[in-house]
Symmetry: C2
Subunit: 725 residues, 2 copies
Amino acid sequence: MTPTENWTIKESEFPKENYSHKETVFTIGNGYFSSRGGFEEGYPDENATTFVHGVFNDVPVYKTELVNFPTWYAICVNFEDEVFNLSSGKILAYDRDLNMANGLLTRRVTWQSPQGRQATIQFERFMNMANLHHGALRFCIDDIRFEGQVSIQAAIPGVVSNERYRHWRHINQGRYGENSSFLELETMETGIRAGISQAVHVNADNGCQCAYWDAHWMPTQTYLMDIKPGDRIEGTKHCVIYTSRDVDQPGSVALNEAVSLSDIGFDQSLQENQKVWTSLWDNSNITIEGDDCADRALRYNLFQILVAAPRHDDTISIGAKTLSGYGYRGHVFWDTEIFILPFLIFTQPKIAKNLLMYRYHTLPGARAKAKEQGFEGAMFAWESAATGEEVTPKWVTGPEGELIRVWCGDIEQHITADVVYAIKQYWQATGDDAFMKNFGAEIVFSAAQFYASRLEWQPDTESYHIRNVIGPDEYHEHVDNNAFTNLMGKWVLEFSEEVKDWLKTESSRLYTALLKKLNLNEQVLDLWPEMASKITLHVGQDGVIEQFEGYFDLAFKDQGTLEPRDQSLQSIFGVEGVQQYQFIKQPDVVMALYLLRGWFDRQQIIENMAFYTPRTDLSFGSSLGPSIQATMLARYGDVEEAKALFLSTLLTDLENNRGNTPDGIHAASAGAVWQVTVFGFAGLSLNEGKPYVHPRLPQGWERVGFKVHWKNREIPFDINQKYAL
Amino acid sequence: MTPTENWTIKESEFPKENYSHKETVFTIGNGYFSSRGGFEEGYPDENATTFVHGVFNDVPVYKTELVNFPTWYAICVNFEDEVFNLSSGKILAYDRDLNMANGLLTRRVTWQSPQGRQATIQFERFMNMANLHHGALRFCIDDIRFEGQVSIQAAIPGVVSNERYRHWRHINQGRYGENSSFLELETMETGIRAGISQAVHVNADNGCQCAYWDAHWMPTQTYLMDIKPGDRIEGTKHCVIYTSRDVDQPGSVALNEAVSLSDIGFDQSLQENQKVWTSLWDNSNITIEGDDCADRALRYNLFQILVAAPRHDDTISIGAKTLSGYGYRGHVFWDTEIFILPFLIFTQPKIAKNLLMYRYHTLPGARAKAKEQGFEGAMFAWESAATGEEVTPKWVTGPEGELIRVWCGDIEQHITADVVYAIKQYWQATGDDAFMKNFGAEIVFSAAQFYASRLEWQPDTESYHIRNVIGPDEYHEHVDNNAFTNLMGKWVLEFSEEVKDWLKTESSRLYTALLKKLNLNEQVLDLWPEMASKITLHVGQDGVIEQFEGYFDLAFKDQGTLEPRDQSLQSIFGVEGVQQYQFIKQPDVVMALYLLRGWFDRQQIIENMAFYTPRTDLSFGSSLGPSIQATMLARYGDVEEAKALFLSTLLTDLENNRGNTPDGIHAASAGAVWQVTVFGFAGLSLNEGKPYVHPRLPQGWERVGFKVHWKNREIPFDINQKYAL
């Protein structure tokens, strides 16, 4: 395998059977907008989407969702009266490549129409990292084996919905000259206007006739040409999207920019795009020599985070399915802070800051949620979107049409600590004291305020309890004293002391102002570390932490007796049934041990892993589980076992291991594989004031190379087997 | 007021404020399809719908719904670059008329564009009663006061959804010659294909240039012409809709027919349409001389039933909102049999038969429902659509987003008796023994089978009970021995004996075959009348029938103390709260007295009305209530009070009295006003083998004229004050 091949995702057959899986796999984007890997000619049952960060609209049940935009890359090619479409005729050759080095998606297909007209068509498209509003398409028809008329229609296809639900109203449309047009739409409830424009150019050997159809909702540029065997047709479609989140007049701004971009041309835009990609990869790339599959698949996972990561806007974040599908409707979970952010903190700290600022901007929503539930401070939404208001659906429909109550929005309360954890990590890695002073400290104190108000004093045991929560293991609902939640709450209260002491020293003016703003006083802050020390945690005699009160009393069952299976343990036993067992959806105690690894000794970690691993539904539980499990195994367990789990995690989306890749990229997993490599196999540690590594590389891995950002420097690591322990 | 005016519904101002109300009011149709009164030029927040009978598709919550078709009458007119649209520029004159004599909807508007271009545009459209697939539009632009270019686009606008939800996938589109095109779509779940075609012709004084835009989802004929002051532009758009319920190739059939209809022309089609309307009105019209308001409004109500009444198909029925809006999603309730059918039975018996045959065709669904609930025979769906399967939503979302369980689909069980009641009435009026033999008897026996299995024997009282139902008064759920349900069940069991005796005599072969088919034997049938006689009914000492067990013990509250109000008593007290009171949503005991009036003496009826009237939420309860109340008042109460209630009922939709006319015509109310007039004021009675009248006309009504179908004859009645008692 050549190095280039490790930078490419290939497809050599038209995916008739697994179309929607491949649509997700070939998602591209530039951090402003992103499109699934649909085909330019469109198919009736496709699930083509283009999402623009921050463009949400109201929807039943799920409250708010990212809005699907018109498919900017759509183009219709006709050989006489036959429409180019791979579901009819014969496919004589087919290749699709995603170039991860520059985000260029190329398809080359030789097709014979049902009536025998043959040609080769190549489509190339990318979403420009150097101009966030720009999507460029180039097509070329050659090796033409017939004589006749070819017509091409390039539309801005306004007929678009989220699956079946429409979000847009029509505002305006029009054209500029012969070759450019725009469509302006507005989301029905949130009133966000969007301008989508195109500038189209087609060149054929014998010239071509162009016309504009001002069809309502569907401005269309059309091109008509007579061709003969051996002729060649080339064309470009430059599209631009602006919304009223960006500018006042998105329609005309988009139209003007499309015209000027088409003057600049496809190749030059691609070069500029390539430059940005090169600089992104310079910091973010990981090389695994000796394991091409891992090397390429790991790069693919990081690629999918980079195409979704907002470099331009600090009021948005990355959803649980990036911008690549309808799963979770674009909502943001702890997946971002705990699973994705470490990758960005240590390789793209500016993007990481944007994501943390998103949480800062959503503090009003978090405060409202705390108040509504009778608590103080800020309680971040379990599912968060444009405003930080809680947008977890209360009810979802089960497979039999029954209604299932979703409790996470009410009682999955570790999310607030997770946000603080990411802030600490960012601060530690970057030393960005300005962020901490102006924004971070406010989040930390507001979170501590929340947890302090959330604790319930138990006089008989003289300890604090947190009752009625859901931990990371969502198989068990309404549990008391979930170890993860208690430990993370404790950690927040302790960390608040560190922030307090630092801020007071750094700027007593800011400190005083912040306390005033939050209606706090120093006496209250001083109570927090003491409260932290009295939060209950039940540890068994063997050092195993009990996941929640009563967990040890539940039934144990050997997962092996249920193999082979293709569904989660919750699906097998039911929402109620699974609660009777010790089965867990993902690491929960082990997750706490991972995040707070400085608090526990190696022996205790190993004992807890030995206890919880056989109880964890790693194959069909949460997709968040395997990466954490693999990281811990690489550090404390069998490194070959870690490698096997790592490899299957890397292929989650490329091979649709969990069957739900059609809903979008598993963003947490895609981000967390960076942690498996860097915190797991390389054993990166930060506790002594600077990063150093304790590698444990599996067999066959000759070299692992990556860079880590540390206080405004990029520190390269180059680990080989010899160096590894 | 001239006689013509009593055949016209007028609007003299562009309805900016009550757009969606007027959309419902100006609904037209021809029994095959129907369109709300949207405007040809379209408005962003319009709720334009075109529904075709029987074309349902799956939808969340409501299970199935009528599918909105492309707006066939859409047309876009541009004066230079200014789009004709009444929300900009100046409206110098405006008139819209609905001619109830022939279903022609005409609008004439003089408009000055924002840049000062002025002209008068007239639109006329109708849906052809003589060719059910045909919708015709004619437009004329004259009194032109500017010079320049006019362009007109006539599209088949495939961008259509049910409110926000999309039902269609694109199948095909194309054109024929310069002026005609078609679009073929398919419903996503039910797979019904629809072909929608147009043939467009535009004539201008200086000729015009036409072109076809084959825009995806939006085939568009375009016309471009240069005009000067004094010029005149005329055009027609003939549209045709076929579905795969009608023909195999709906697209091409529709295209061919549009072409030939445009050859026939607008005027000739209108004449043919007029002929059918004349014959419909010949039997269905009612004249009220001396009260123009009542005369016109009554005609409007009957008009709305006639445009929705299927003359061509016996597998469909009329939904609770006809084909005029999204309310109740096109589902069919008891509204059809009890409120609408008497009008059709006595004036359009062939249509009445189609509607009863619809119930026959849905027997499999009714049998499945009975079986599923553990009963025998046939239990008709409370809400019924294409198949007769129960399609009442189980849950709906309340105003605060809370989920409300809807129990009607489970336990509102009088519907089956209501169907039988309509069969009896149809049979009695028409003497259609063939229907009764081949279809009616099967429904009657299947219904009796159901009620017999539904009865619960109570040994201590030696009587049958029906527990846990909802009666017509839906304010009270889960009641025992609802008088209406018990009486109607009793009536079915008794009527089954009459049918048995008749069928045995008429054709013992058919009788035996039917018993075999239904797995019945004569011993079982013989038990039914005996069971009927033992069904419990609680009557108070004063002759007042208790609506259900325990009703008399509920709290009484004077409705007057709650006035003025603009919402139902259920909205005021809540779903749970209202159950604690004697308030009722609509006549329940009085409804039984109305339907089974032969069973009760005048005094008992009067006493029950005196008791229940003050307890009935006539203003904001069910829209089904006032017409029954008015009928009973006209017969047994104060005829002037009856008139007042009748008049407000007639204006339910014309004046949007209940605030929900935007959801569609109140079909039950629209049909039942015929009963108020004929059974109420005219006092039509059928009990002595032929119809005769006992009129009680209110003051000012000089003459009431109508015809009643009786055993293949149309009997005219001409009642004047002198004749009335």
